[in-house]
């Protein structure tokens, strides 16, 4: 059932929220052992059921961020999105530790499995949210997206993933990863449901001073739209099968009257390198608060320094330690200009690529992921190859733009997603456009 159907059903008193949530909880009981989409399951009440990524605070519930360091942390307040939703939180979904990962394998509580094939990764870092929606364990879910963490798992699991404009949704109560990039997003079965949730959670919030109001949108007509295909996103480094499916989808759009233009965005390919300086720098600063003193897990030791060192050694996972080290290096004396400042300037260049593109076209269209879902464990020992997964999604975060991944086909039972990126604050127009593409592509 879609969220729209659930809300209508509850309004018309066909069933209560309690009844419908009970059905989802039964499904979770049955399927979660195999899929591992939920870290904890809740029994509450509200207007409609939803699953929440376990880095978003829900008062009174555990919030682990997928980390041993917050294994027993109970949220003392609600995130703004939770207050705005007033929903029945079915449970808290699995994620790569502190949202750091693109496969869903870096959770301290075990990897999330892809519901389409349990041997495969679900994509990350909002792995549990995507898998929960794909496996009908929740009608809709919230995730967070710092470099593709909503769109990638959506693509791998075969659902819709929407990352709004940076600042369009309050992040008060979202556990910080890389603050200049983090954005709460939505995983859903279709675009209509994503829009319902977005309309509830968007908007300015006094508790997050980066929040903005997005623009309203008139009706859009496919014949008036121009989609730009960056050459850089349709060439080397992208799996041939993924390209084949995306190209076929583009042809469909053209047939329905949309205009397609090949464009140049020469600096897009530097997105991953740029991101792997900016993100670890911000992450290492954000995670400095986990010191064993204020909250979270703590190791006893003879002096204060040893408390820090031992706590962080014992309770942080491998990937987190790697990224803290990388970020600390990039910010340390003598390397700041060579790495961090340079990355911030390359970020400007990537933003300019988009600004230039949007003078000629309405939306950028690319595959969502450069590869098909892969087997669990296949890439775990090769961090760089996992980092490359963000290639096509990270530019939207660096430039602060809204992006949507929607299912566009599959190879066997492995789904493939396509991504459209729009100008900042045009989230509503992006959603309206995505709805038309959805109709064309799911026919």
């Amino acid at each position: 059932m879609t969220l729209k159907e659930i809300i209508t059903g509850i309004e018309k008193k066909k069933f209560s929220c309690q009844e419908i949530s009970g059905r989802y909880l039964d499904t979770i009981d049955k399927k979660n052992k195999d899929i591992n989409a939920f870290i904890s399951v809740n029994r509450g009440e509200g207007d409609f059921p939803i699953a929440i990524k376990d880095n978003i605070l829900v008062k009174g519930l555990k919030c682990t961020a997928g980390s041993r360091i917050l294994e027993n942390y109970i949220a003392p307040y609600n995130a703004t999105v939770i207050d705005k939703l007033g929903a029945f939180v079915l449970g808290k979904t699995n994620l790569d530790e502190f949202a750091c990962g693109s496969s869903g394998e870096f959770s301290a509580f075990g990897p999330t499995k892809n519901p389409n094939d349990l041997e495969y990764v679900a994509g990350g870092s909002s792995s549990g949210s995507a898998a929960a929606v794909a496996a009908d364990m929740a009608p809709v879910a919230l995730g967070s997206d710092t470099a593709g963490s909503v769109r990638l798992p959506a693509s791998f699991c075969g659902v819709v993933g929407f990352k709004p404009t940076y600042g369009a949704v309050s992040r008060y109560g979202l556990i910080a990863m890389a603050s200049s990039l983090d954005q709460i997003g939505i995983l859903s079965q279709n675009i209509e449901d994503a829009e319902i949730v977005f309309d509830i959670i968007k908007g300015k919030d006094e508790m997050d001073s980066t929040t903005l109001e997005v623009e309203e949108s008139d009706k859009v007509c496919l014949k008036d739209l121009v989609f730009g295909l960056p050459k850089e996103c349709f060439s080397q480094g992208i799996d041939k099968k993924v390209l084949e499916i995306t190209n076929k989808a583009v042809k469909e759009l053209e047939k329905q009257g949309a205009r397609i233009e090949e464009i140049n965005m020469p600096d897009l390919g530097y997105g991953v390198a740029c991101y792997y300086i900016i993100m670890p720098a911000e992450l290492s600063a954000n995670l400095a608060r986990y010191d064993g003193v204020r909250y979270g897990s703590s190791e006893k030791a003879e002096d204060l320094f040893s408390v820090y060192f031992k706590t962080r050694e014992k309770y942080f996972g491998k990937e987190i330690k790697r990224r803290i080290m990388l970020g600390t290096y990039a910010l340390s004396f003598g390397y700041y200009e060579a790495y961090y400042l340079r990355a911030l300037k390359v970020r400007t260049k990537i933003k300019q690529d988009f600004d230039n593109a949007f003078e000629k076209i309405d939306f950028v269209l690319t595959p969502t992921a450069p590869v098909l879902p892969f087997k669990i464990g296949q890439k775990i020992e090769d961090p760089l190859s996992l980092y490359m997964m963000d290639l096509l999604t990270v530019p939207a975060n660096l430039a602060g733009l809204p992006g949507i991944s929607l299912p566009v086909g599959s190879i066997g039972n492995l789904p493939v997603g396509a991504q459209i990126i729009g100008p900042a604050l045009k989230d509503k127009k992006l959603l309206k456009t995505a709805k038309m593409l959805e109709q064309i592509w799911t026919q």
Binding site: S332, K345, R347
Partner: protein
């Protein structure tokens, strides 16, 4: 390639204990990642301003006053004494 001494120094700054074996592995992994990141040197950044934030909002003000007196935060502290966070002594006696 970064050397082992540098890796040890960063580990100190990061406040994380590592075994010698882990440090050597990190040296290899970080070097590989930094080699990739060197790609950034190919971009012409002359006269380009840095972007630290994608959306340009400036100076968002609000009154600096407490809204609620929430003692529940103190329940999350690993070790406390009365209403204080307890830490190991920093200065030697």
């Amino acid at each position: 390639m970064i050397n082992l001494e540098q890796v040890k120094h960063i580990a100190q700054l990061s406040r994380i204990d590592f075994s010698e074996k882990e440090l050597k592995k990190l040296q290899k992994e970080l070097s590989l990642i930094l080699d990739y990141i060197d790609k950034l040197n190919q971009v012409d950044i002359k006269e380009i301003e840095p972007t630290s934030h994608s959306v340009l909002i400036k100076n968002v003000f609000r009154k600096d006053k407490s809204k609620k007196n929430d003692s529940s935060l103190l329940n999350l502290v690993p070790e406390k004494k009365e209403r204080f966070v307890k830490v190991k002594s920093v200065f030697k006696k």
